[in-house]
Symmetry: C2
Subunit: 196 residues, 2 copies
């Protein structure tokens, strides 16, 4: 696989295959933009990146370079090689149309859930009942009293995270289309993907 | 449905149907025992209880009486009616054989994942790729620096939580079989279920 580059326009998505040992860089092009990121074992999509298992093994909601991102089956999916931000989310599900209805009273809103399902369908992966992604650049804060808040991302223009694939993967990325909250700083922008 | 009572022996599981409006009480019989608790829409099992959506709507990892537990589709699954403990888990997945291999170097360990799949199979619900339950009595602490720790449950003998079903449900409960950590106070004991 030679190096590849894509720009995901604001509110859109991308799916791609990533072979073991290759490195993907996800860049927040303009700053304060979340990328919902999911990955499936290319040889058995019943195994996938699992934020909950990652919490259980890394024992921190704030992963850092050197940490491993795990699968549902407690196997390494990615190793974090570098990260210019240091704040991502392992707790919250992908936004979906029902979320926009319940929280913002908006019908038929474009969503990470639909974006990810669309990107994955091209690789033969059926629509999931739910996605709980590794939400890159998403700034979820848990206070001492247990309250959970989503604040503006800490990422600035050009900030990125680099992940090395530890198995052959089908990856999908959604440039989160939520302009209704601080999640993306109230404005949706693009995400760049580079593979080497 | 008349009132029903079951005792789930240590390390075992139970599945049952729960109709809308009925109330289930889950009791930690001897204290410090976690119950992994999952629920599926009885009329469409592609919709299920979702701890991530609950975090997104309730905006707290520490749910309390009056709070709603939500489904993947942002619909109410349960309302918490009463709770004598006040500490449960919405973050971590069910233990599964691979967890015991990776974290404790033990093969073929009994697990909540297998227990739940077994209980659900009797109701025609296929084995899930993963379960992320509402982990009752599980005491997961998130520190200010983001580190995640599982401590001894705060529940004492006879403590319970009561949930009112907001839709017709298939429910499965596993008396967590992990004696290797503080999760169950290093000893596995029974869980009682009462429906009225």
């Amino acid at each position: 696989m030679s190096s590849q580059h894509w720009l995901i326009p604001a509110t859109e998505e991308l799916g791609f295959k990533l072979l073991k040992g290759h490195i993907v860089r996800i860049t927040d092009v303009e700053g304060e933009q979340v990328a919902d990121f999911v990955a499936f074992n290319a040889n058995d999509p019943s195994e996938r990146l699992d934020p909950g298992v990652t919490l259980d093994t890394v024992r921190s909601k704030n992963v850092t370079p050197g940490d491993i991102i795990y699968s549902t089956r407690y196997r390494p999916v990615f190793t974090i090689l570098s990260d210019t931000v240091g704040r991502h989310d392992l707790l919250l599900p992908a936004c979906r149309p029902e979320m926009y209805e319940v929280l913002y009273d908006k019908k038929d809103h474009i969503s990470c859930y639909d974006n990810l399902n669309h990107a994955l369908a091209a690789f033969g992966i059926p629509a999931a009942d739910q996605h709980t992604p590794f939400n890159l650049f998403m700034n979820t804060v848990v206070d001492a009293d247990g309250s959970v808040r989503v604040e503006r991302p800490l990422s600035r223009a050009g900030d990125y995270i680099e992940l090395r694939a530890e198995m052959d993967l089908i990856v999908a990325v959604s440039a989160c289309p939520c302009a209704e909250s601080a999640c993306n700083g109230y404005t949706c922008t693009s995400i760049a993907i580079d593979i080497r």
